[in-house]
């Protein structure tokens, strides 16, 4: 039954239905409402024998889950931004050990300057760690992806991040069709671990592996992701059959038939992009959109099929590889290898900067114009502010802290320094 509910609460309630046996949590905005809600449900006895640990750091949180998962428990945590980076070493470790931990990432920018609003810098920083990364467009998608994530993680013995845009989704109240316990139980079998810390059958887990076998171990991790490319659509199909919603999958196309230009993105901005596509179609432009749900594994062959017929692909991404440009667009380019498709990079929405529909429409027009887009294009940059700061830096080496200077320029700081 549909109900109006905050994204974080919807996710927490759904995770509770998945009956994690150990959850370890550390507060960080904008993920906090998820673990607050989960802690209440656990304490109220609504999550079976689940153990909820309030730990001393994100590094500790994931480490607790590493131990619990190796001991055969279904495990869950949520984090974001600085928290994800603080647990980075354990993020790689969990994947290397093949532990099917599920973690919600409430995507948020990474400082400095400290910024609590949404972009994808955090999970992008962990893209090579060996976790699967599934991106939700809306809260219904976020809820459904969590149930699928446990299934996927445990089937392949590989951890999964479910990425949902911080605030934009976590704090949005919208209609969500919450699953029931019967639904989840029918879809998600009990966790049957591949390897287990069990005194009746002792094994050593986490041995040192040298040059003689390390590459093979890494290849097998990659192979697992290749298997996931098959498992993700299969699980989506099953979910669709059971619940009537085609949530999940590798990617989703919108009005791409006959499209000459296709806009590609991750996460919630796809809603805005679809509206922009409607407007551009109304203008008579052959524009479509593709939403990437599974960023890891990266569905390059599926993308080739979805985008290969277009002349131009515009990747709108909420991340920046400083000194290079787009991260997602580089990967889309790789997927388009040898195809006559131009791939453009639009860096947008960093640190929570709004991405209005009008800006998407404008950037598509610019891309189609004779002049085209520079590579990469930064959406809605305030060049007056940037130029003023560059002039200041040129005039005087110690011209003050950049962030604070810029805040003065845009008038966010009350007092303008004399």
């Amino acid at each position: 039954m549909k109900q109006q509910i905050e994204g974080s609460q919807a996710v927490a309630k759904t995770v509770a239905l998945c009956h994690p046996e150990v959850a370890a949590c550390y507060p960080i905005s904008p993920q906090t409402h998820i673990v607050e809600t989960l802690s209440r449900l656990v304490k109220a006895g609504e999550v079976g024998s689940c153990q909820f640990l309030n730990v001393e750091s994100e590094f500790g949180a994931l480490s607790v889950l590493i131990g619990a998962s190796a001991a055969g428990a279904r495990t869950y945590t949520a984090t974001t931004s600085q928290g994800l980076l603080f647990m980075a070493e354990a993020v790689y470790n969990a994947a290397g050990l093949g532990l099917p931990i599920v973690m919600t990432i409430a995507n948020r920018a990474v400082g400095a300057p400290i910024n609590i609003w949404n972009d994808h810098s955090d999970s992008m920083a962990m893209r090579d760690a060996g976790w699967m990364q599934l991106f939700a467009e809306d809260n219904q998608g976020a809820v459904d992806l969590h149930v699928q994530a446990f299934r996927l993680a445990e089937e392949l013995s590989c951890p999964v991040m479910v990425c949902m845009d911080g605030y934009i989704l976590t704090h949005a109240v919208e209609a969500v069709d919450l699953l029931t316990q019967e639904n989840v139980d029918a879809f998600l079998p009990p966790y049957d671990p591949v390897q287990l810390l069990d005194p009746s059958d002792p094994v050593s887990i986490g041995s040192m592996v040298g040059p003689d076998a390390f590459m093979e171990v890494r290849y097998l991790a990659h192979h697992k992701h290749l298997q996931a490319l098959e498992a993700i659509p299969r699980i989506q199909k099953e979910f669709h059959q059971q619940f009537g919603r085609a949530s999940g999958g590798l990617l989703e196309s919108y009005k791409t038939e006959g499209a000459e230009t296709i806009v590609v993105a991750l996460g919630s901005v796809n809603g805005t992009i679809k509206d922009a596509v409607d407007d551009l179609r109304a203008e008579g432009l052959a524009v479509g959109a593709v939403k990437i749900v599974s960023y890891r594994p990266f569905p390059k062959y599926q993308l080739r099929q979805a985008l290969g017929h277009a002349k131009r692909v515009i990747v709108v991404e909420k991340d920046l590889s400083v000194g290079k440009g787009g991260i997602l667009s580089s990967e889309v380019k790789m997927a388009m290898r040898h195809l006559p498709v131009m791939v453009e990079t639009v860096i947008a929405g960093l640190g929570g900067r709004a991405i209005p529909k009008a800006s998407i429409v404008r950037v598509v027009h610019e891309a189609l114009s004779e002049e085209g887009l520079e590579e990469p294009h930064f959406l809605d940059l305030n060049w007056d502010v940037i130029n003023a700061e560059l002039v200041r830096q040129q005039a005087k080496r110690r011209s003050g802290p950049t962030a604070e200077n810029i805040l003065r320029e845009v008038g966010t700081l009350g007092v303008k320094a004399g």
């Binding site: 150990v22 730990v55 001393e56 480490s63 619990a68 005194p199 094994v203 076998a213």
Partner: protein, 336 residues
């Protein structure tokens, strides 16, 4: 009829071999049904105090847990020498994750056992001093304050030995390491810094904290056994000489450890819920030189002329320990 209790020792007067003791007084390690949790064939150096300590400690824990035990290990010598793929010296379920997270991983294992109703399965975590007092300190403190049902054993060899002897927060005053070289105006590790982890553990008011030494393996086994009798967070800090890093004779590991105890530099005590409840009196007090002179890491103190002030400063640390924990028992001294 009056009788006098006779106490046997491992060295000096009243020495007795383990085999001559009553069976219930013999070490767990000497029993035929010992579990060999850390089996032979591992790659520890000759004279390794940590391998010895771990062997006794884990077997004692195994016996106390009725062989229903899971061990978590921090990165470090013990992990590396016991588990190079595809070999493993561990006969028990054993897991290594990272350098700084062993206490948290153990908390997770314990939580999983609780969630699954496997109340009989006990959990220990172990690491060296670097993993314990430095990089894993946050996770350790978290495990303590949550009173998670884990026995954490630190094998303290007073530096980062696995990476080639660098200073840790447990390196003693004036000791040479590769990052506290024996040069300059104050050669070796500066005095007056460092971390007393058993005291910090006690400050968490956890059920049981003890210090132990490979100089007294009966005592180490007894403390592990006692610790396993409690539930909640427990901590044992074991002093384990490292011939490589201490530049000591591998044949003298036990003697070096004993001199640390008998000089007062390494006090042996037990604490419950934050208060010291017992200590091992020093049987025959020795000056700190007897300990320091066995180790090349303190060689600079004995150059010509010797660093009298440096040695006196170390003696002052030993004397302070003796006063603080009441280590010199007049009656015991008089009796020997």
């Amino acid at each position: 009829m009056s009788y006098q209790q006779v106490k046997f020792y491992q060295t000096g007067t009243f020495t007795i071999g383990n085999r001559l003791l009553d069976e219930h007084n013999q070490t767990i390690q000497s029993q035929r049904d010992r579990t060999n949790s850390l089996n032979s064939g591992h790659r520890a150096c000759q004279g390794c105090g940590e391998a010895l300590g771990a062997r006794y400690a884990v077997d004692a824990a195994m016996r106390a847990a009725n062989k229903n035990l899971v061990a978590v290990n921090a990165t470090g010598c013990l992990e590396v020498f016991s588990s190079p793929y595809p070999e493993s010296a561990w006969q028990i379920p054993w897991m290594h994750s990272l350098f700084g997270n062993a206490p948290a991983v153990a908390s997770g294992v314990a939580a999983a056992m609780r969630a699954k109703g496997k109340k009989e399965t006990r959990v220990i975590a172990q690491g060296g001093d670097g993993a314990t007092v430095d990089i894993g300190f946050g996770c350790l403190s978290g495990m303590f304050e949550r009173n998670d049902d884990v026995l954490y054993i630190c094998y303290d060899n007073e530096a980062y030995m696995n990476t080639g002897v660098q200073r840790s927060g447990s390196t003693p005053a004036r000791a040479w390491t590769n990052t506290t070289q024996a040069v300059g105006t104050e050669p070796g590790n500066p005095s007056g810094i460092g971390k007393n982890l058993p005291a910090i553990a006690m400050a968490h008011h956890i059920p049981y904290v003890a210090t132990a030494s490979v100089a007294d393996l009966h005592d180490l086994e007894a403390k592990v056994t006692k610790a396993m009798g409690f539930h909640g967070a427990r901590y044992i800090h074991v002093h384990v000489p490292c011939p490589l890093g201490w530049k000591s004779d591998p044949a003298l590991t036990i003697k070096v450890a004993r001199m640390a105890v008998e000089s007062g530099l390494y006090p042996l005590y037990e604490a419950e819920h934050g208060s010291v409840i017992d200590r091992t009196p020093i049987r025959r007090k020795v000056p700190v030189e007897r300990y320091l002179e066995l180790q090349g890491r303190f060689k600079h103190l004995f150059s010509d002329p010797p660093d009298v002030a440096g040695i006196a400063a170390i003696q002052a640390i030993a004397d302070a320990n003796i006063r603080r924990y009441g280590l010199v028992d007049q009656e015991v001294q008089g009796g020997t």
